[in-house]
Symmetry: C2
Subunit: 153 residues, 2 copies
DNA sequence: CTTATTTGGTTTCTTAATGCAACCATTCTG
DNA sequence: CAGAATGGTTGCATTAAGAAACCAAATAAG
């Protein structure tokens, strides 16, 4: 059977997971954010099988998350770079990283700091328009008419 | 061959993906944030096969993201509820939802608003300690000694 | 109280995805 | 030119996913 499609469930989250929701895609994006661009470098840094990497890179390119740039002088030698869409996943990757560090402990010797100040980042949080942090209990899920759907819990 | 393990790669992101990195887990969490608690309700709202749902719920419980609460009066009748760890994924789910809406258009009739004001949420963003928004180019990746690793791209 | 239905699974079977290793054409390097 | 590296593709074995059938306990209907 074909894997279930997530892009027609009428849900933005499902649609996002359809593009980057598998085991490897977000790790490839994360690695690209660290500066990795070449096929072999992704392969070695992630320890991913070549055919899987090949498949994931193709899908990321198809979905506009990365681009394949020909950097060979006479022929084929490629770099995979993040697009604006791909770089915009920085929020998602960082939120995921911080969540893991908060609940599973520091598995990573690496740290992210503000390039200007050298200080660690603030925790990524959902905020209202005044900049106040909101939990899932502080929001309401409404339809297009503004009617509430269900209660969060 | 067994699926690659992500929890011993020395990467927090990989560790997070080991828990919620598959196609269904985050959707189950998202649905729980909408208020869904019962097995059949997850099944119908997500359109997921029963054995897969069973497996995902077990894994989420094992990882401390959800708890199974016995609500039967004399015997077994269960509810699955988010733990604090699970509710803390709100940031990740919201960031993913906003990313998808920004780049793939509104696939969702549902909207999230501040329960107090009724107004839409601010975009989830990575910020420094002064509250300024940072892109991936504004951060540096350093090791435990503060030495820079590679350049982001 | 008895029967029907719902709930929360498990089992079986088929198809798809993953991982590993081998192979291959082109392209740099020495 | 020889040899290594790059960026794949192919084949095979194992695992996961999806659909449907089946099932025991618990609840609802009458």
């Amino acid at each position: 059977m074909t894997r279930k499609r997530f892009d027609d469930m009428g849900c933005s989250v499902a649609c996002a997971l359809n593009e980057v929701g598998d085991w490897w895609s977000l790790l490839v994006v994360k690695q690209a954010m660290l500066g990795t661009r070449r096929f072999v470098d992704f392969q070695h840094s992630l320890g991913i099988a070549k055919n899987i990497l090949c498949n994931r890179l193709s899908r990321l390119v198809d979905n506009g998350v990365m681009v394949r740039v020909d950097v060979g002088e006479h022929g084929k030698r490629y770099e995979y770079r993040l697009t604006d869409k791909g770089r915009d996943l920085f929020t998602v990757v960082t939120a995921l990283r911080q969540w893991s560090e908060r609940w599973n402990g520091e598995k990573d010797t690496m740290q992210l700091v503000d390039r200007q100040t050298g200080k660690p980042l603030a925790p990524v949080a959902v905020q209202n328009q005044q900049g106040q942090t909101l939990t899932v209990r502080d929001v309401r899920f409404v339809d297009e008419d503004g009617k509430p759907l269900e209660e969060a819990g």
